[in-house]
């Protein structure tokens, strides 16, 4: 695939990115398991990464790939803190069903 035909392919990448993002939204809204909700958030982050890299290819700018690098770092930090929160909740509630942890206190 050379640069001349890529502008015609870009909408395909963005459409795939939108579809993956919507699947992630469905996962966050439908699933009750907190870990699977986190994995759906990862899916949404990755669909955004795909769009970033596709646009980087389109504009021939490396900045999009740098942004993807930063998104990965933020995702790693988010996973570390989020899984720590889930472990802490599981210690007190013995459950990771998000319906069971709807109370702020108690």
């Amino acid at each position: 695939m050379n640069a001349d035909v890529f502008p015609q392919v870009l909408p395909l990448y963005l459409g795939l990115s939108a579809a993956l993002f919507s699947l992630g939204v469905i996962g966050v809204l439908v699933r009750r398991n907190a870990i699977i909700i986190f994995m759906s958030v990862e899916l949404m982050l990755n669909s955004a990464n795909l769009a970033f890299v596709a646009f980087a290819r389109y504009w021939q700018q490396l900045d999009g790939q740098i942004i993807v690098f930063f998104v990965m770092v933020v995702a790693a930090a988010e996973v570390a803190v989020g899984l720590a929160v889930i472990v802490a909740i599981f210690k007190t509630k013995k459950s990771i069903n998000v319906d069971d942890i709807s109370l702020m206190k108690g």
Binding site: V9, G24, A76, V79, V81, L83
Partner: protein, 162 residues
């Protein structure tokens, strides 16, 4: 090539969202991340693709699997407190997909007239590193602090206070 990898990405994403077991979900997500890494390779970002496989599909997913095994939470809880909620959620997600697709469809002609530069995109580690340590030096340092804060936060939150 795009069709095959795209089909794999979509199928693994659907399987991840619908799978009953959290472990299967995590493994499908690994496959999905790998297919997106293939896209990164196609789009001229070999460094980003390797980082995707090693950091995302490697480190982060191992962390996920570790926590799933640690909590013994393979079997996802089935009962819903709001029985109508999944249908509404799927409907709203389809509305979101429709809106993004409509925006895409409306703006596509504008893109094809804007000609992209014909030069090859060098997403090599060398080029990425040069950009990262010149224009993006300050964000790079900030992310290092962010990772440190996340590390300390995770340790503090899971520590036994007794």
């Amino acid at each position: 090539m795009f069709g095959v990898v795209g089909a794999v990405a979509l199928a693994t994403a659907i399987a991840m969202v619908t799978s009953r077991s959290a472990i299967y979900s995590a493994l499908f997500l690994v496959l999905n991340l790998c297919s997106i890494a293939v896209f990164f390779l196609i789009l001229g970002g070999p460094f980003i693709a390797v980082v995707q496989v090693s950091v995302y599909a490697g480190a982060i997913m191992v962390l996920f699997l570790f926590v799933i095994m640690l909590l013994g939470a393979e079997h996802t809880p089935g009962e819903q407190h709001l029985p109508w909620q999944p249908a509404v959620a799927v409907l709203l997600a389809l509305v979101l997909l429709g809106m993004t697709g409509y925006t895409l469809w409306r703006t596509v002609p504008g893109w094809s007239t804007v000609a992209a530069a014909p030069a090859e995109l060098p997403g090599s580690p060398e080029a990425i590193g040069k950009l990262l340590f010149s224009s993006y030096l300050f964000p790079f340092e900030v992310t290092s602090v962010l990772l440190l804060v996340a590390l300390v936060g995770a340790v503090v939150m899971t520590r036994d206070t007794k």
